[in-house]
Symmetry: D2
Subunit: 457 residues, 4 copies
Amino acid sequence: MDPVTKALNELHRRISGLTDGEVASYIPKLAQADPDDFGIAITSMGGRRYQAGKADTEFTIQSVSKPFVYALALTDLGPDEMLRRVGAEPSGEAFNAISLEPVTGRPANPMVNAGAIATTALVAAADPEARSARILDCLSAFAGRRLGYDEEVYASEAASGDRNRALAYLMRSAGSLTDDAYAVTATYFRQCSVLVTAADLAVMAATLANGGRNPVTGERVVERSVAVRTLAVMATCGMYDGAGEWLLNVGLPAKSGVAGGLIAASPGRFGVAVYSPPLDREGNSVRGVAALTAMSERLTLHLMHAPVHLTATVTDTGHGARSSRTRSPEQTALLNRSRQRIIAVGAQGELEFTETEQLLGAVEGAVPATPGWLVLDLMAVTGIRPGSAAMLAAGLADIAQRGHRIVVAAQEPFLAAADGHPDWQAFTSRDDAVAWCEDRLLAGEAPLAPSAPSAPS
Amino acid sequence: MDPVTKALNELHRRISGLTDGEVASYIPKLAQADPDDFGIAITSMGGRRYQAGKADTEFTIQSVSKPFVYALALTDLGPDEMLRRVGAEPSGEAFNAISLEPVTGRPANPMVNAGAIATTALVAAADPEARSARILDCLSAFAGRRLGYDEEVYASEAASGDRNRALAYLMRSAGSLTDDAYAVTATYFRQCSVLVTAADLAVMAATLANGGRNPVTGERVVERSVAVRTLAVMATCGMYDGAGEWLLNVGLPAKSGVAGGLIAASPGRFGVAVYSPPLDREGNSVRGVAALTAMSERLTLHLMHAPVHLTATVTDTGHGARSSRTRSPEQTALLNRSRQRIIAVGAQGELEFTETEQLLGAVEGAVPATPGWLVLDLMAVTGIRPGSAAMLAAGLADIAQRGHRIVVAAQEPFLAAADGHPDWQAFTSRDDAVAWCEDRLLAGEAPLAPSAPSAPS
Amino acid sequence: MDPVTKALNELHRRISGLTDGEVASYIPKLAQADPDDFGIAITSMGGRRYQAGKADTEFTIQSVSKPFVYALALTDLGPDEMLRRVGAEPSGEAFNAISLEPVTGRPANPMVNAGAIATTALVAAADPEARSARILDCLSAFAGRRLGYDEEVYASEAASGDRNRALAYLMRSAGSLTDDAYAVTATYFRQCSVLVTAADLAVMAATLANGGRNPVTGERVVERSVAVRTLAVMATCGMYDGAGEWLLNVGLPAKSGVAGGLIAASPGRFGVAVYSPPLDREGNSVRGVAALTAMSERLTLHLMHAPVHLTATVTDTGHGARSSRTRSPEQTALLNRSRQRIIAVGAQGELEFTETEQLLGAVEGAVPATPGWLVLDLMAVTGIRPGSAAMLAAGLADIAQRGHRIVVAAQEPFLAAADGHPDWQAFTSRDDAVAWCEDRLLAGEAPLAPSAPSAPS
Amino acid sequence: MDPVTKALNELHRRISGLTDGEVASYIPKLAQADPDDFGIAITSMGGRRYQAGKADTEFTIQSVSKPFVYALALTDLGPDEMLRRVGAEPSGEAFNAISLEPVTGRPANPMVNAGAIATTALVAAADPEARSARILDCLSAFAGRRLGYDEEVYASEAASGDRNRALAYLMRSAGSLTDDAYAVTATYFRQCSVLVTAADLAVMAATLANGGRNPVTGERVVERSVAVRTLAVMATCGMYDGAGEWLLNVGLPAKSGVAGGLIAASPGRFGVAVYSPPLDREGNSVRGVAALTAMSERLTLHLMHAPVHLTATVTDTGHGARSSRTRSPEQTALLNRSRQRIIAVGAQGELEFTETEQLLGAVEGAVPATPGWLVLDLMAVTGIRPGSAAMLAAGLADIAQRGHRIVVAAQEPFLAAADGHPDWQAFTSRDDAVAWCEDRLLAGEAPLAPSAPSAPS
């Protein structure tokens, strides 16, 4: 058994003993859930899936559907219009709070019921059936399998859904809902009655954590920017009126549902889901909260935890790099005389702001006043933020401006991410990069960038 | 000029044109601020400092003091007692809201005035003077220089501070404040009147981003867990009633002050600060908000943005590693026959959850059924979360349990982070690690872990 | 022209010049009302009707229906159950406020929309049609003529009534409404669309002021206690969030409607109604408020204004009353010797608490130690509170207990109100009462009460 | 024993059995009150005083001071400015609610603590001592005896008065309080610590009921209009968040205090007070509420109860009145021929709106087309509203305009109330009035009003 599964099993065993909480009873059908059901599942960015306990037991998604339908509506409307229609502020109120923004009637955020109903209404569709179909398609794409409904829960929810109808009529009267209030509420109940398992929810959460691409199926479900905004709203509003304490203690965007589902996402790392029907006073799964709290502590998943840097980003700032090419003695002698003009700067690990800034600092310190060949060895760089790539490019362009020739050795994906830099000579091996510089030296060329004005020899 | 400074200058120039907003006037002295003053500063985790515009102009820290004094009180009280006294929920209300929790009288969070005053009162001290002294010491340690007061602003604030006095008396009557209400409010005004520059605030924010250690002075100001919790509270409550939208758009924990200061922290990356007095309707610096929004977009700083992985974590899963040691022909022949029992698995980059999980998967796939020597080459690993280290140790312990000998090659800090694993043989060079395995093979030893029962020869 | 009509005309002329306010527009059909329409009507307790301006123009009753339907439901449920279902507290909120009592979901009072809808639902009926029919019957009985509907306003109101539907669904979800929410709201809209004139409303208000009996038709529409409670709720909750200031300035229970109707009732004096569509910010008819404010001041109608007492209640406390009967000289001589045993105490005006207490004080002072005949002359008493009658009876019973004979001269209605006092000898003329006493004296009888033990002759 | 005292004793005995409620404990000194202490007192408009139980036990007035200090401030400021500073709306909130009007910071009403503190601050005075002195003088004038302080309660209240200080500072910060917040709160505590008995409070309440004139001492303490407004505010705001239900059930303006005092006033009838320390959940004396509820029911004191009219207002509408004057046979013959020109209309009882309107209707019906002498016999009229007097004068002026001569017979106070009517010939006996008309007839005069143009004979 792999260590992740083993850890999940141990966690499952430990937390099974927790028998606090009450199964939700306001929807009669939900009250029949087995309070002992308890499953945990994790899906990694690599698409690997781990689980423990009843992670394949089906239950209704309920409010855990909210972030995913928000992502769908956000895709349809774009960020500005979406924010104009549904806010993003934690309301300091319960999930079924009836307060709307005074003048606009805008609901506070898409994680409280009012906002979720308004969000459902914003999913583009010709009619309610088409809307329900699009929502089911979307949830299925997030889960990576075709999902279905629990018709009995739907009927039970529709029969006891007057408060949600009240919210819908209230928004209609305030102008923040323009569809038929009764029909929209029905669509919302339908969305809540979609059947999922903890294993499904883990994939769905992992898809958000993975920037919108389902790590299991490989399908891009929503744009990266949509996933980012969805996670941000989950972070501040996902745990209802306990959102602040949740972010304080657990530090991960999350969302819970009244049927006992609970998801959390660690951006770029994994999605996790728990299923256990007994709820605490705030309406969150008791075992779900306990499991995620334990995992966050154990795995240091808190968003605010700065990673520990083990070693310097910059691995090399030497002058006089040497390739493994076989050279003639004359060539060797010539190279040895001029080798100081080839400057090698190496880096490793993730290039985020701090690392990029360190790397550029090292480059500045290494390049001499007279133009030379700068070999930037990024072979050991494992990741880079788009913003860092741009920052690096800007810094190197400045060096090039001063007459230096930029020669980059990096893995293919990096070169792709930093594409469109015609003034970089790029290689996928350091040795090739240095050899190219040696060849230029041997040919008596100046290290001018292609776009730089030709210097007199 | 370095590229960061250059970028800051360009940003400063672009945003200087923004002339919206009003200088705060409710404290008469603040109304005299120059609306054109505008400075930006950044401090990186490496302690490098960048700035543009009037980043050395002094102004009063005001509410930007709140997270730092919270960190101080949190250190004094511990997380549980702190939470019992001051909540962590965004209140959905303005900074000077007068609502407290119904029964306990607990203020909603330490970023609204009520919570900040309660927090100030929780700083352990024999008397008000000692409390003010401790607070000034703390703010100075965060800033990395000795800070002082603006006595005129203090006097002006004290003269117009009746609402804050009301909050203090209200908490006293509710039992959530036990000190003298008038005196505590005075201490709070004193804390707000500490003079800082944008450059100071950037260092202060960077100290939080750096897990509580000042990256410029190297001083540990607060514990890592205190910094993490402080940033979490800033994330949900730092921008008052606009906190949700801020996290949606900018995605960084932040805090603003009425004098025009604004800080944000990117955990593990940097701290940033802006000074520009004109405020928007929510009371946040107009240029500060614009500058941070632009930076977050440009540098992809949003907390929910998953990093882009350029390359696989696992770089090597070969059987039959070979050291550079000089061996006799017999030894070579012997090694060549048994070399398949030495399995090398290499990894690079940051080891967070996803990477660790990938690495353990690779190890599982590589180790054979019969016991052997597993050389884990972590030389190119640049960072690791404590949680990931534990997860890796657990996975390797399981491998060892099955009779394999774990031999790790890694940099010193990694070995320190993963310390206390007597069943690992550790080296700081891959070649040494492989050579050690070869030596064991040559000596005819079995690959048993030290703690494993001795196998028959 | 009678002086009341003349005064109304003058008031109408003066207030016609007031052109502030806006015609309600949230129900499209209402927006078409003529802002110049303006009528005033008064109905006195004697059933006399006065009016000025367009007092016969029909408009929809809207919220002015609320107190009358409340009276109907109160009759059905009784005071305790009614209060359990709909509160009686001014909410300090607007007419369409959505707040309900936290635990019970009980609406604050029957004058805000939520409470009015709940009240409509409490009118006993087999189905919505029957309920609408009972409500129309009730409003018609209050008005003294058969009323009808404005179907166009009803349709317009139903089309724009989402906020009221929201309130109904909200109460259903809270358990404070058990009927079908959609249907109840429709019944409420129907009730609001009943067509009335200012003249009708004046009769309706006068019926409440007259203790529930229509002063024009003579029909008892609701019980006296129901009328009293209805007026009490109007006094504290009838003018929405301006109820307190209204009671301060005008001092009369009142109710306004969005179509421009406004009623007020002066208990025991009259009902008044104004129709003028332009509304002020609180939603009350501008001219209606002005007219009632002027009338209250001019006629000293304020509930808290103590009446001015012109003269003493007690008109006579003499010993030795004498009838106009012709007596023989012997009889005259005998009577003259014993006449001191006949004590006459007279009273006039209204007998409320203060007057009754004065009268009893006078009786106590007049009756001698030895038993006699007490002739209580109440011929000039014009009114009496039930409570005062009981208090008077108790006081006289005490006198009788001491051996005095109580002989009352009063008008028929008084004797009816104080009926069931077998120990009183009652007459409808003072002379007859005194003569009866003289006859007893002449017959040598003792002044014993019938129930008193027979004294030895 | 008089019947009122007897009734009070019986009520006291019955309600003594009620042992619910808790003595207030938030002010430590108050917690020492004896829960068995129970007194009732009534003061009538005639200044008579009745009491039962411990009506002479002293306790602190607490919030019962609020209406009286409001009356004092209202006298200082006038109604408009007073309303601008302190509202008159029931807030739907507890006595110590901290909400103020959003923009102005105006407290909701003078019966909640915030409004009471603001009201205290509005009492005109050079300094806090002078203000306390004026307040004590005012309360003493209302009570009719010199009152003093309970210094121990004052000290205890000051020591535990942080919430009230919070309210004061809050109002200062909102601009609705301009005095020193700490000092004003101290003045308020001082006002609350004034020692009174139930007997005192009954006189104080009776003074309000009597239109501002102390019925025991005869001193006018405040203007009639001030007393009216004070009672109106008590009616809507006096019983805190239970004001609506109180007015529904009891129907009298009232005010309770935390020490167990409770007053109510029946305008024009009496003031009543109860003292019994155990309080209900709303903070009102349990026995006080029970006693007043019982009294209101038994004595039909509810403001909305229309009085029962026993008999017609109009007692006589005959033509041809005859005086008791001795006339010569010729004179008699002449009078008999013209006697039809003397029209007598008589009225009795209270002349409020309804009665005045009836009387004017009778006059209209009685006066002939040709001018005559109208003898209006108001000898049995016992009371009249100022408004009714004006209405009567207007109606009679109209009759005079048509050539009739108005001759009024009424009691002195009525003539004083209707003074300034030069066209009335006034007498204090009907016989004199008729005789005067006969004299005019005999003299051959026309019945012209003094101001009417002389008609041709």
